[in-house]
């Protein structure tokens, strides 16, 4: 039975997850959560704190285990595959700009590390001289002048510059999909805008399937071709393509206040 639409890239099937099971703090997050993402989709995920957005990303990437259910990438069941192995085909950018780069290593060394993802880290020279031109070229696309500072330690760069590098590094090798975990949340509005534009550009150029968690409703509306709103471990809103492009920030805000009323806030 094939559903309408493109090729399945990622599928979460009947996910159950309970935190602190068996204690008084027991809290049930997912009860039979399902999600199917198709090739080429750019999914923006919004929702209040504790709605399960980040937990969903962590479940996909394997940072937290699930109690029940299955996770598929393509047609492959990856439920029991270890976190670091899953990253062979997943790129991820974190909220904290420090998470995506190595601060005491230089820009060139960081690029070389990212370039070697999926290959063996053996006793060959860490930086392949013939790749330097390519690194410079991709860095110049960021428009931050980093291509002229290859031997600068990444720790001395600003948060925005590091996040731009993290974005570049996570998409350097072929991946099945890109995971963006509130990756503009720690940046100032102007830099955040820039990183978002850059994200959009890279996603389109490399035709990446993308899942982006964000608290910025404007970004969620403006970017991507699918929007998901999470609430208490369920997707309460899921709009694609044409329907999604009709969505306004106000609609989402209205929905948010509706939820809050239900919660009695």
């Amino acid at each position: 039975m094939r559903r309408r639409g493109g090729l399945k890239v990622l599928e979460l099937k009947d996910i159950h997850k309970v935190y602190s099971a068996g204690t008084i703090n027991e809290s049930c997050l997912f009860q039979g959560f399902n999600l199917r993402i198709e090739k080429g989709e750019f999914v923006s995920v919004v929702g209040s704190n504790g709605s399960g957005k980040t937990s969903m990303l962590n479940i996909i990437c394997g940072s937290i285990d699930i109690d029940q259910g299955q996770i598929f990438v393509g047609d492959k069941d990856i439920t029991d595959i270890k976190e670091h192995v899953r990253y062979n085909k997943i790129g991820r950018v974190y909220q904290n700009p420090a998470m995506g780069t190595c601060p005491t290593m230089t820009i060139l060394e960081n690029m070389s590390l990212a370039d070697n993802k999926g290959k063996s880290f053996n006793l060959r020279m860490g930086t392949n001289k013939s790749r330097i031109e390519y690194y410079k070229e991709s860095l110049s696309q960021l428009g931050l002048g980093l291509e002229d500072r290859l031997n600068t330690q990444v720790g001395t760069l600003s948060g925005g510059q590091r996040q731009a590098m993290a974005l570049l590094m996570s998409t350097m090798t072929p991946i099945d999909f890109l995971v963006l975990d509130e990756h503009t949340a720690a940046l100032d509005p102007k830099t955040a805008e820039k990183i978002m534009e850059l994200t959009d550009k890279i996603v389109h150029e490399k035709h990446l399937t993308t899942i982006m968690v964000t608290h910025n409703l404007r970004y969620a509306v403006k970017y991507g071709n699918r929007l998901l709103m999470m609430h208490q471990g369920e997707a309460i809103l899921d709009k694609k393509n044409a329907e999604k492009s009709k969505l306004k920030v106000d609609d989402l805000l209205g929905l948010f206040s509706q939820i809050s009323v239900e919660l009695g806030n």
Binding site: E83, H84, N88, P103, E109, R124
Partner: protein
């Protein structure tokens, strides 16, 4: 003669400092295995040297070659690092405690390997004197011979380590200490990389122990007590001395730090208790006193001199060789206090 002794000992401990540079600076892992793997290197060395008659060991050592013995001691240290790494990574025991476990166990293992608590190897062939070497070496530089051979081993290890840190595997090792999350994002198991770092570090530490046993001519079961402190102090001295000098590699800094440390220990050994305590007070005053400059200088001098006089007059204590470890710990404390000062300043400057 004293200077030669300092250089020789400093260069031997420098090999260990290279190992601690990996665990402490790169991996940010407080590895206490060192106190056990340093004598382990020495124990394996004396065991292989004194048991030439046993057929099996003869076969391993290819006829009692001190260089091969040195290499095998190195391997033994690597295994010690592997054990600590597995305890920490696979069994999820805290870093400090997994080192303590291995270190404690190694004390008995070292005794078993060496046979007894004190084993002399004075008349054995060592890397410093053996038939092959003696025929090659010019008599002219006889008193520098030990230092030259130690320097070759130390600088050789340093160059190999520098080269390794430039390989893909070396990049990954540096990345693990920096940002474990990134290593996972690169689809690598950060735990195995950590274990690899501990193996290399403890192999270097055991190499240092092996060279030490050959230089001093004996194995002693407690020779590892405080080894970690010595190596750590060397690394911290070295990196703080050359913090602003970017062309000095951190590995070179660790070697120089080790020599500086040995020099300051031998300097402190000649001091009186009152003098040492006065220096401690002076350092603490300089680092921690928050007063205007002229007042700070005056108060520092007053407290330093008064401590000196009080201790000199009222505590009749003669320093002896048995106070070595006490001096070591006091010196280490001074190094950490001054190192802390620099860090605090750096943070203030950024804000």
């Amino acid at each position: 003669m004293i200077l030669l002794g300092i250089l020789e000992q400093g260069m031997i401990y420098a090999i260990m400092a290279l190992g601690l540079y990996i665990t402490y600076k790169i991996l940010d892992f407080p590895d206490l295995t060192v106190d056990g793997s340093f004598p382990l290197g020495a124990a394996v060395t004396v065991m292989l040297m004194t048991n030439v008659d046993s057929g099996m060991i003869n076969a391993i050592t290819l006829g009692h070659n001190p260089y091969i013995i040195m290499f095998l001691s190195c391997l033994a240290g690597g295994i010690a690092g592997l054990v600590t790494g597995i305890i920490h990574v696979k069994f999820k025991v805290r870093d400090l405690l997994s080192g303590v476990i291995t270190m404690t166990g190694l004390y008995s293992i070292n005794l078993h390997i060496a046979g007894k608590a004190n084993v002399p190897i004075f008349n054995m062939e060592t890397i410093f004197s053996n038939r092959g070497l003696d025929s090659l070496y010019p008599d002219l530089l006889d008193n520098l011979k030990v230092l030259i051979i130690i320097s070759i081993v130390t600088i050789g290890s340093k160059i190999l380590l520098d080269l390794y840190l430039k390989t893909k595997s070396g990049y990954l090792l540096r990345a693990v200490g920096d940002n474990t999350t990134l290593v996972v994002s690169l689809a690598k198991d950060s735990g195995s990389v950590k274990i690899l770092g501990l193996v290399i570090a403890n192999a270097l530490v055991a190499l240092s122990g092996s060279v030490m046993a050959q230089q001093q001519g004996f194995f002693e079961v407690s020779m590892g007590t405080g080894a970690m402190v010595i190596g750590l102090a060397s690394v911290i001295i070295g990196t703080s001395l050359f913090k602003r000098v970017s062309f000095v590699k951190p590995t070179s800094a660790a070697i120089i730090g080790s020599i500086v440390y040995k020099a300051s220990i031998s300097l402190a050994m000649d001091m009186s208790l009152s003098m040492i305590l006065a220096i401690v007070v002076a350092v603490v005053c300089i680092v921690y006193m928050k007063k205007e400059l002229p007042l700070k200088v005056i108060l520092t001098i007053i407290s330093t001199v008064s401590v000196y006089l009080v201790v000199k007059l009222f505590i009749p204590y003669e320093m002896s060789a048995s106070d070595m470890k006490l001096i070591t710990s006091v010196l280490f404390m001074i190094i950490l206090i001054t190192g802390h000062e620099k860090k605090r300043r750096a943070k203030g400057a950024r804000a």
